[in-house]
Structure formats: C-alpha cells, structure tokens
Amino acid sequence: MHGQSLNFLFPNDVHIMWSLMIVLYPYITGLVAGAFIVGSLYHVFGRSELKPVSRLAMVASLSFLLVATLPLLSHLGHPERALNIVITPHFTSAMSAFGMIYAAYLILVVLEIWLLFRSEIIELAARSTGIKRGLLKMAALGVYDISDEARRADHKVVTVLAALGIPAACILHGYVGFMFGSVKANAFWSTPLMPIIFLFSAVTSGIAMIIILYETLSAVNGRKISGDCLQSLAGYLWLFATVTVTLEILEIVTLSYAQDEEWLIVGPLIRDKIAFSFIGIQMVFGSLIPFILLGIVVTLKRYLTAGMRNVITFIAALILLIQVFSMRWNVVIGGQIFSKSGIGFRENYVPELGTREGVAAALCIFIIPFLIMGAFNRLLPLAVEDGDAQARSH
C-alpha cells in the first residue's frame, strides 16, 4: 500500500494520533493517585477529621487503578500483547517501568484495603452461609483474630503501607507527566514542570472526586455528612487547586515572557485553537469559579449552613473535575494541534462517537470504577462507623 511508503518522503505529522483515550489515561491515573493521597492524609498524617472518607478513598483509588490501563489498551489495540511489557521488560523504557510501578502499587493498595476491611470480612463471613461464607473465609486467609492486639497490628501495617504508597502514587502519576515532558520535539510539553503540574492536578482531581463520592454515598446511605470532614476536604481542595492553577499559569507566562521561538506557535495555539478549552474552561470556568466558591466555604464558614456548604463544595468539586479533564485535554490534544516542525497547525481533532477510541468507549471505561465501588459497597460498607472506628484507629 502506498500509505506505508510515504513516511520517509514527508514529515507526515498531519493527523492527531493521540486520541481521547490518551486524555482519559492520565485523568484516571490522576484520580488513582489523588484518592490515595486523601486516604494517606488520614492514615499517615493523622488528619483524624478525614476518617469518614479514609476507606472510601482507598477503595476509590483501587477501582480507578483497575481500569487505568484500559484506555491505553483500547488506543494501542492488540490487548493480547499487553503482557509482553511485563514478560520481557526493558529497563530503559518508561512504559515498562510503569508496568512495574503499577504492579507494586496494586499489591500495596490491595493489601491495605484487605487490612482495613479485615474485621468486616470476618464478621460478614460469620453471618453468611454456603459459597459466600467459604469465599469470605478464604479472603480472611483463615485467621479470625479480631482482638485489639490484632487490630493494632493491622493499623501499624496500614500506616507503613500508606506511607510507602505516597511515593508510589506520586511516581505512578508523575510518570505520566514525565512521559509528556520528555517528548522533546513538542514545545508545549517539553518542560520539567510537566510532572509537577500533573501531580498537583492529580491531587486536586482526587480530592474533588472523594468529595463527590462522599456526598453521594452519604445521600444514598441516608447518613449525615460529617461537617469537619467536608470542611477539611474543601480546604485541601482549595489549597491544591490554587497551587495547580498557579503552576499552570506560570508555565504559560514563562513561555510567553521568554518569547522564544516556540511562543510563535504556542501563542496562536492558545489564542486561536484552544481558546475555548484553555482560557474558557480550564482557566475561567474551571479555576476561577471554584476558587471563589471554595474561598467562600473556607473563609466564610461561620455564615454558611451545613446544607449550603455541602452544595457549594459539591459544585466546586464537580467543576474542578472538569477543569482537570480540560487540562489533560489541552495538554494532550492541544500539544498535538501544531506540527512538530512548528510551522503551522494540523487538522482538527473531534473524537468519534462509536469507535474503539470514541466517546462511548471512554464513557464505558470511566463508568466501570463506579460500578466496582458500588459492588464493593454492597458487600463491605465503605462508610466508617463512628464507634467502630474508635476501636480501629488507636
């Protein structure tokens, strides 16, 4: 076919190859890392007001982790070859390093969740019958010790695992930014700030997702939302969102102020090509509005009723989830809109609807974690009982 023979003839970077799936991939890994950091704030840093979301955060992290690779598989095709990267890993390949970090992180999160839910697993096994009982007993590894000493031991191990998990989560996500940052030919990506921006926006999206999950879960279970917990989450969200947006703006301001040759293409890119998704969604709608909303929640908390605070925080969290998604979009798609030669722009990218890399597939992938969490919640409640938690924590 003629198509194959053309590559040497022309710089063929005419099409946008990294599709919606490559936008979704860092978005989901960001949620993995961000949710884990929220859990660690409680488990490692002793932010006891976050206890109500401590388990939810871990299970959310696991659920997103389980689908984190699906966008890549769908983008690359040939999912049956996915394991080759693990079977014959090349140690100079960032992608195969990701395979190892992913596996280590998965083990860590599964262990941690197992320890967090061990007592419930054992109690549930005692209450159930038949195959379910057998499976639960197996999940308890045949040890039914829920004495205070055993729980203390659990708690110690959980703290160590969570502490180990922080660098693991940061590397897991920082790597994604590293991947973009190391694409040297792209003026929009190749900055060492990239991993850091990705990391901070990951934490932002993680906290925002936990707020939404927590409020939804409380509504579904008919529980009261803990004011301290939500207030604290809103504060953290405000902090991380502010730092993230500051970094994002600084990066562009540096590019623009330096007026190096790349600004000749990045400038028009932002002004003309991604003005709506960058300035409109990412900066104004996605950053300014939540900044004001969360600012109200944090600074004017005395004047707000609990209901108002919950609603405002929920809306701000939802908008920030959109902000982080638009940031991924602007980096991945925006960075590809101009030709690597820097001469001009490529054809536009509009995601298809029904294809392997289309909108429908992306939605399907994104819904799976919520189904996992729902199923988990039916078996082992994600909400933390207050009295019960007392015994668990110290």
Partner: protein, 158 residues
C-alpha cells in the same frame, strides 16, 4: 507477635504469588529472546523465510522500460512505481505476469502528497484540492478527479 498470624500469612501469600510470577515469567519469555539483543532472535529468520513483496526500485523497468524511462526524466522520478500502484508480487511471479496490476485513479492518491498542508515542505508542489478543481461550495470531489487532466503520460512524466 501472637496476634500477627494473619499478617504473616498475607506476607507468605505475597511471596508465593511473586515467586509464581517470576517462575512463570521465565517460561513465558520466548525462546531465543535476548540471544543477540533485546528481541526474539528467531524473528529474524522467520522474516528471512518470507517471500519479498516489494521489488527493487527498477524492478518494473525490466518490462515497462518506456514508462520507466519517461518517469526517470520527470518530476515523479523519486516516487517509486509501487507507491502509486501496488507491490511487485501482486503482479509478477518468477519473471512472468501473473495478475493485473492495480491502477489507482483516485484523487486521494495524489492528495496524499500534493494536498496543501502547512506542515509540508514547500519543495513539494501543493494545491488546495477544492480550489484547484474549481469546485463550488458543497460540490463533492469526483472520485477520479485528477486523472481527468493529468493523464497517464503527464503522471508518469510530470
């Protein structure tokens, strides 16, 4: 230590799983992998056993010397015949014509190289397809648009 039995079991299970993975990996690594580099060495020989599908740059000239000579003197000289037609193996076997060669008259073929793109170097002649064909808005591009004016002699010797 008395109440940490489950933790030891979990640790043991983890070690068992890791051992299983490491041992299992050993069996999954393809034979001859890494013998001469970071790839499956046998793949080389499997490739060498395959029949070549493309011909040498002057493979068509053996039988189509007229066209080949015309092309060699024109601007399409750097473009191999197989780029616009098809691979040699689809047409010739053991020095005999075995099947018709594909003739691609679609405008997409020419557009591949001549459609105006900002990223394309100026040394290749480029046209805005719709402008060049003087199409009015909404009019579709006819399937064999380009060969209507650029006939086969012009194409082989532009």
């Amino acid at each position: 230590m008395e109440h940490t039995k489950h933790i030891w079991r979990a640790a043991f299970l983890l070690i068992a799983v890791l051992t299983f993975v490491i041992v299992g990996r050993h069996f999954l690594v393809p034979k001859s992998f890494g013998e001469a580099g970071y790839y499956r060495y046998d793949a080389l020989f499997e490739h060498m056993d395959k029949e070549p599908r493309h011909g040498a740059p002057d493979a068509c000239a053996d039988c189509h010397d007229d066209i080949a000579a015309a092309k060699a003197g024109g601007k399409h000289a750097p473009v191999k015949c197989e780029v616009c037609h098809d691979v040699l193996a689809s047409h010739v076997k053991d020095g005999e014509k075995v099947a018709d060669m594909r003739i691609n008259r679609s405008w997409e073929l020419c557009a591949y190289c001549h459609q105006r793109l900002v990223g394309r170097p100026a040394l290749v002649a480029q046209v805005d397809i719709r402008e060049h064909l003087e199409l009015s808005a909404g009019q579709a591009i006819p399937a064999e648009a380009c060969v209507q004016c650029h006939d086969k002699d012009a194409i082989h010797h532009p």
